[in-house]
Symmetry: C2
Subunit: 505 residues, 2 copies
């Protein structure tokens, strides 16, 4: 292969691939927000065609040649940024080409069938009908992990985790999770034994959804999410889609009698959206630097805005008068502490996505332990419900009434996604550690938040997290930004410092 400027050619190639990816992202967004029901059949074909075109480009010999030419081009080897982009381009290419086509097809087919089987099994609370699908999926997922290559210690979970959290390992996750579990359990015990639960009636006001939408846009704008380069729409399962440069789309859902769902959902997706808007997507189009570092780091940005900003007392000092104005009469008679306490209720529950800030991580930990055991072969699928229920009893002190509220509650495994769950907890950990670092560098943020001034925090995140894209691994971003390796201490301190006073402990 001859090329006079391999980096320019590679950049063009990746840019065109990214454009095709943007089209797919938009088509997927539309499916969840605007597509009429009868369009589903044609939409599946559209997405399959785009996936095929993307896979072709991601595994083409031409791409391999361009990456190799860049790697061999001596003058590129001195630029750290270029080297980091090449490292990531190589990583993507290797991962894409390591899987045989028949495995990709089988995984896609089984994932689709598994998801259908899971839906029915959850609806009927019938694990047995789902079991054979999960068993078959596990065979394929293990084969996938083997294609990627197990870790040196033989841990087959690592290459799966590495897909979502590059550089992380099961062992490194375990090292953080194990001590964290004990401390969270103690806090929850304290609350259950000695705490006085807050009054939750402020959360049960009837607030028309169009008012909630207006308030959501108002908060997003204050956070620094650029609504001229993004949108907020309604969907069933909220998500953020960073479609393209200048086009970041958030979704939420409204419940007229539980405004906090949409508000915190919107702030959560807004955090993802601010990360997407902070990536150099126009300037470095298609290059790895224009992409997020990891799912864990992405989740840290959503959790930071949702929990560390949105569930702070300072936030409600600022937000309450605006909520009173926009919501009409709904909040008159409530003070800041009424809201602050209500939105920080801590109580073990069965469903992860409804869990509060304190108990949420325990939900994640038990999934991590179970899916790791499944991949290792230490746990049989048939024994999954039993193992699940035991862990829920042990970690959350609850007796699972049925599998629909137990091991059938999450969609992930049903389409073959293993190694994803830990990123939810990593996100919480990174969020607290980053927030601590921001405050140690910028000073106490509470006065600014009370004044609705979020710009300092957003700019700090732009500078210390977003702009690096994938040039740095998530762990490295965290270390550079905070001066320390990942630790559970900031999150524990944050939770204890908040929950104990609220519960009068």
């Amino acid at each position: 292969m001859t090329t006079t400027n391999p980096l320019a050619d590679l950049t063009d190639y990746l840019s065109e691939s990214a454009t095709l990816g943007e089209v797919g992202a938009l088509v997927a967004w539309d499916q969840e927000t605007h597509m009429p029901a009868a369009g589903a059949g044609a939409r599946a074909e559209q997405l399959a065609l785009l996936a095929g075109l993307n896979h072709e480009r991601a595994t083409s010999a031409r791409l391999g040649d361009l990456i190799q030419a860049c790697e061999e081009h001596s003058t590129l080897n001195s630029d750290a940024d270029t080297m980091a982009d090449l490292r990531e381009a190589r990583r993507d290419f290797e991962r894409a080409t390591k899987l045989p086509a028949d495995l990709v097809t089988q995984l896609a087919r089984m994932g689709s069938q598994g998801q259908q089987a899971w839906k029915a099994a959850r609806a009927n609370n019938d694990f047995a009908t789902f079991q054979p699908f999960l068993e078959e999926l596990l065979v394929l997922v293990r084969r996938k992990a083997e294609c990627y290559g197990a870790a040196d210690n033989g841990e087959l979970y690592d290459p799966l985790l590495d897909e979502f959290e590059p550089g992380a390992t099961a062992a490194s996750i375990e090292a953080v999770f194990t001590p964290l579990r004990g401390r969270l359990a103690s806090l929850i015990d304290e609350v259950a034994e000695n705490g006085t639960a807050p009054d939750e009636t402020p959360l049960q006001q009837h607030i028309p959804t169009d008012r909630q939408h207006e308030f959501g846009l108002f908060v997003l704008d204050a956070m620094g999410f650029d609504l001229g380069a993004g949108r907020l729409d309604t969907t069933t399962h909220p998500f953020c889609e960073g479609v393209a440069a200048g086009d970041t789309r958030l979704t939420t859902r409204y419940n007229a009698d539980r405004f906090a769902e949409a508000l915190y959902g919107t702030m959560h997706e807004g955090g993802h959206g601010i990360y997407e808007q902070g990536l150099p997507k126009a300037a470095c189009h298609g290059l790895p630097v224009s992409q997020a570092s990891s799912l864990g780091m992405h989740e840290s940005q959503s959790r930071l805005w949702e929990n560390l900003v949105g569930r702070s007392r300072a936030f409600w000092v600022w937000a309450l008068p605006h909520a009173q104005r926009i919501f009409g009469g709904a909040f008159h008679g409530y003070c800041v502490d009424d809201l602050y306490r209500a939105i920080n209720t801590a109580r073990p529950s069965f469903i992860r996505v409804e869990a509060d800030e304190s108990t949420y991580n325990l939900h994640v930990m038990l999934r991590f332990e179970i899916e790791r055991a499944l991949i290792r072969g230490d746990l049989e699928v048939a024994d999954l419900p039993c193992a699940w229920n035991q862990k829920v009893q042990e970690y959350l002190g609850l007796s699972v009434p049925d599998d629909a509220q137990g091991c059938l509650q999450d969609v992930h495994w049903s389409f073959g996604i293993f190694g994803y769950f830990p990123t939810y907890c990593l996100g919480n950990l990174y969020a607290s550690q980053l927030m601590d670092a921001a405050e140690s560098q910028l000073g106490d943020l509470a006065p600014a938040i009370e004044a609705g001034e979020f710009g300092g925090l957003k700019t700090w995140l732009n500078e210390h997290v977003h702009r690096h894209g994938r040039r740095l691994r998530a762990a490295e971003i965290n270390e550079r930004a905070t001066g320390k390796s990942l630790s559970a201490d900031p999150m524990i301190r944050h939770l204890e410092g908040k929950i104990r006073p609220i519960y009068g402990i």
Copy 2:
């Protein structure tokens, strides 16, 4: 090339091309309805990439081979439907491959520049700044027509017109337009000299746009537009996008003080949408039969619902109580005839898109004559404003005050679209002739319309127009459905029969 089943292979190929086209349609729809402003740059790249992929597929040697193999496959030659699909596939392939790549690129670039120049020229009422762009565009458009090949009589306009209205010629258009012009002029003179204009205040009620939207959906549903397989959104320049099987998207715009704009815009796009929904897009995916016959026939469907249904007295018998209910108090005190008369005001005006049913066709005719003269070389671009103003004086009896309200009002020429305008008038003619035929076969439709029963008419259109797709030319669809070749008589009878009584003539 070897293939055991060339028709199956061609069908697969065209189906995949159609899927790619659907993606492009969705991306274009989103640009006009939901895209944040800052997404425009990335969007242009996305659309350009998709256009490139489409062009590649539309001109590939493989497609040519597949079509040829089908044409040579003796068993296919006896099936009229297959032959018709092959004829259209061949037509598309020939047209796509006849244009050299450099001409396509130049036309796209000049079209984009021309449109920018036109916007500025119209805003500043400055034809001179637009003139050089239009001159350059005409050189390219003439070259394009030459690539397609002039008609036997040397008429270079014909291959341009043929792009939008397959089978039509300038001579055939002229033969219909010339007598029509005289009769329309007489009617307009009558109205101006002896008529009493209706009271238009019923159209000037203040009606909140969300009420207008609800009414629009109500009317669409009654018309038979399947809202489970389509949507209605808001945009600046309303259009209908038949994205895919089960996914037809209408757009409209709202003016709180002029409800008729959105209502008739919605019924117009609804007519297009019912045509799209009536095409066999799922059963014959990608085949020409799943596509509309021509722009003129498409416009006939929109005009039929907008004017022949929506501006009838029977429609308001049905619609008024629903409008009163949905619009709140706005229409109380008005009777059916107040609305019927107001929405049928006939008055010459400068702007085509705001013209009433009677004068609209004169706007189209003068554009047809002018663009034909430009393509022939009988008219210089420099003389366009003068020629325009003369024709407006002659046809509409108005003195054009400036070019912004004259020859600069339409966007089409600015991006190189010539041969499109006649389809607007053809649509009106087909609409009246089809409506006459429907009534002669189904009986007087007024009682059904008064009862809000539109199903008989819709089913008749499905059967006589929609299901043929492109297997029949528009003129042939019209002839088979109505038993007669295209004639202006039904439209003239319709207009005279409506306008004279309203104006007390």
